[in-house]
Subunit: 647 residues, 2 copies
Amino acid sequence: MTLTSSRVRPVDAPGPRRGLGVGDLTLDGGFWGRLQETNARATFQHCLDWMERLGWLANFDRVAAGTTGPDRPGWQFSDSEVYKLLEALAWEHGRTGDPAVDATFRKVVDRVAAAQDDDGYLNTCFGHPGRPGRYTDLSSGHELYCTGHLLQAAVARVRAVGPDDRLVEVARRAADHVCREFGADGAPGICGHPEIEVGLAELGRALDEPRYTEQARLFVERRGHGTLAPVALLGPAYFQDDVPVRHADVWRGHAVRALYLAAGAVDVAVDTHDDDLRAAVERQWARSVERRTYLTGGMGSRHQDEGFGDDWELPPDRAYCETCAGVASVMVSWRLLLATGEVRYADLVERTLFNVVATSPRADGRAFFYANPLQQREPGADVLPDAVNPRAEGGVRAPWFDVSCCPTNVARTLASWQAYAAFVDDGGGTAGGDAPVVTLAQYAAGDLRAEVAGGVLALRVDTAYPADGAVRVTVVEVPAGPVGLRLRVPHWAAGATLSVPGGGTTTVAPGWAEVPGPLRAGDVVTLDLPVAPRLTWPDPRVDAQRGTVAVERGPLVLALESVDLPDGVALEQVRLDPDVAPRAHDDGALVRARVVPLPEGSDGTPPSATGPAGPATSSDAVDVPLVPYHRWAERGPSTMRVFVPTV
Amino acid sequence: MTLTSSRVRPVDAPGPRRGLGVGDLTLDGGFWGRLQETNARATFQHCLDWMERLGWLANFDRVAAGTTGPDRPGWQFSDSEVYKLLEALAWEHGRTGDPAVDATFRKVVDRVAAAQDDDGYLNTCFGHPGRPGRYTDLSSGHELYCTGHLLQAAVARVRAVGPDDRLVEVARRAADHVCREFGADGAPGICGHPEIEVGLAELGRALDEPRYTEQARLFVERRGHGTLAPVALLGPAYFQDDVPVRHADVWRGHAVRALYLAAGAVDVAVDTHDDDLRAAVERQWARSVERRTYLTGGMGSRHQDEGFGDDWELPPDRAYCETCAGVASVMVSWRLLLATGEVRYADLVERTLFNVVATSPRADGRAFFYANPLQQREPGADVLPDAVNPRAEGGVRAPWFDVSCCPTNVARTLASWQAYAAFVDDGGGTAGGDAPVVTLAQYAAGDLRAEVAGGVLALRVDTAYPADGAVRVTVVEVPAGPVGLRLRVPHWAAGATLSVPGGGTTTVAPGWAEVPGPLRAGDVVTLDLPVAPRLTWPDPRVDAQRGTVAVERGPLVLALESVDLPDGVALEQVRLDPDVAPRAHDDGALVRARVVPLPEGSDGTPPSATGPAGPATSSDAVDVPLVPYHRWAERGPSTMRVFVPTV
């Protein structure tokens, strides 16, 4: 059985489950298809233009020309943005075969490759004339972090076009350099920002180089012993150097760092059959998702260190929920889904894709949210289209940031969306029996083709999901032998029904719904997920959301924006009436709300001493529309909240 | 009329109202007397020992010896800690005349003075061999900030012992240097951290040098035009360089900076009769106290920039409420009280003194809180007595910090507490008529002696305030002419009564209660303030406190600590029953609380999606004690909250 095209995917772990290749599912527009098309049509060039304009691409040219100096533009990690864009281009080309995308990719690679030193070292910030020496600042220098993104780009490329490629060669030499410098006989260091681990592990798989996996393992094991020099006033938890991965119970510190590290640790655990390490990440996932994750799937409660907070510390207004942390969370959950087969990981992937990743890009693909708070207290300022913006100011999507990690991270994720949509169990696994089983984990209209033992299972999916909850799956082609099909029933979809050929309609519980076999070409299976708007109450331990309720619709978290309120009503005056069920409205909902008068002005005492709030006394009631959270701030500066007060 | 001893006070503004000198009120122990005694007995030497141990004092010796170099210990602002301690020693000596305190003061001054350059420049971080040049980093260098604290120390000294003093001479030369360098004909710079303004203005008053006031005015007016180079990723609002003081509507950015600047701006406004500038600070105070101030009087909602948040952004767990911001808030409110006579400023001084300033020091005066959050989610870690601690980790008072501004700020404030206790209106002012009026703004047992026209008004105050609300004032001596007496009725003291000789007992409304005259020696006046525990409801716009209530007792904010809960009950299980009035208990209160079961464990969804919280179903009810907030964390690591959920 040849699986070449099926292996064009970010994660190719050993084990019973494997994802589809990015080209194995062709989207017919729809929610993700449109985002993916905008990504290719607008975002790639947008990122290239900014990186050219700011000199981040020219940094490579200067290294090649020997003209480096103290005046290098960009942060120490700006190389990584180039690599993430290369990864996006590689997936796009791998998925579509578009020669223009390939040409763009090659042009950038030529500039990158020219900057590589003879011994494989490749970095434009360190190690050249007028610059600090190599690996002189492991805590903040981000050299290995940049290399990790280089390797991830090469993973995409080797799977799309094979190992005979200039970027793949560059990455191989860079990885070899890292193994020489930091191997068991080399320096015992680690990078302040994890990423090299996940890059090495996957490149090891892609090139069948166990040395790379071993180096990733070394980096994972070295972490947590307090060897990194402190950064500013932050302690070792900031970069997860406080507790070894296998001993930690929860994610803490800088969220993107914690999650990239966790992704790499899963890779290492799977490849080395280290069940203890895998169980550690599963444990961290469970507690962090329960106690340190927002309704949107967003992670990171604090601006101070872009990090996780304490358990239950989930302020909506100061939620950081960095877009990149959403991308990283998808990386971790997808790996755990392949490793365990548990549906909860697919549920979180969906929640995060719809409500963090899809929230970041503006409709035109040329501006992005960096932070994704669940409440905006003051309308966002106007963003100038030519400005490099501060990274975490909420309320308005910005074209580029001083630290601009999010645009390219969105680009590579959207370009490879298909890789997270379905997986195959080749038998003897999840579904019992020896027959292969194909599982749809995410829903989008299109044509899916999964190579399995005995041939191909080809499916046609028709759906307007998430606007509508009906997912109609037509079996187009079946393999010679038996094959199973499973559909995910999301955790929120109580009352979902499954209609099967000749089997009528039955209610299916959240989890994996198995389609009774045998499958035959022409079979039509319909999953009906209830997407009527529903109230979602906060866990009472989330202090910052006490006395509020949110509204969700299918996988979409909804939001109330000030621009949707009647004239003269301020967002802080609105109380949602939970006794009146929200009704569907466009893609969102209409909710019944009361308008309460604002308290009198100050008498010179702090805000908590002016007397009892008491119940709302106004009998005014209005219906106000909610919009999907991912679409907020599309109509000019506004204030916004996801959780609306009920008291 | 000679007012020499009465002028030993931090603020000596022109205008109808003047504070007492620090020696004009002798405390008999009591709440503030005990803190003041511990301050003198333990805190001064504690600070000196740490500054000696860390080399912050020796930095002055090295400048004098010409042995400076790149290896200077301490932050760039460590000189200011020495100056704040000198200020504390000067007040203590000025109040008590203790020769040992004077000797300590002189020893430190000798080391400081030896480091002054010939032209008056004095700084151990800049301007000497192996160090960066003078004023090369106005944004972050803190040179003028340090000088400002030097001048404040000299203000205390010149008022205690007169101008013929070594520190006063040092300060005069330093101030002259600043005027030469940054005067109208000099460099147009400002300091990233305001403080020089308030130092120059008051030294100008103390030495009758209008040039210093003019220089303070220049610094205030220059601010707000975006001339400071950015610090890290923070915008100009961080150091109030976004909007000119006279145009701003609210405090924003770094709280201590905003408040020191406001204090200096009031001084300048009063001295230059700039009503527009004064009105601007009053406006900023009103909005900031209404919308950006905690129940404790604490200011600063964000760790990220140690700054104010948006309006109504007042998270209890991530409240920064830096001790130094409390000190600075008292400085601002006291100045506005003298400038306007409005009682609200005295109310906030009391709230902040009891619930921020008094919260910081441990009972032994040798450890301090830096941040003062209103909720502690995880028990504080143990603090090692010999460790330099990170500055803002909550839950445990620490002996010293890497940035250790708070201990010396507490020391100088406690040493001069009397200066904020009462003020004199010399006639034609507040109370109408031409007779002088003495107003008690804060209450503590002791003997007060106010020089007024025609002699002295001497009062004996007997009270156990704040443990008890009865304040008994005996008139001991009256001046030859008429004199008025007023007592503050705090804003929370609805139902207070005043008993006067022959006048029976009448209810007095919050505000200034005037004692009917004429006053005679031997008269006894009793103010009864109701200090039964009371519920305080949050303003409904403070989202982070929705569905909770706090309990206060007199001026004290109370707190619920986990160590006071029954075995097996977690703090997050407790719901306060607001229908049962809190009862008095020790210095705090007993409240009726229900204990609710904790939700089930995670099903792999974020915390806000596990279902409705609903009302508490448990019928368990227990009485739990609350302690004064300023005494929390005295019994080992615990979790804590000021606002307790009711739903």
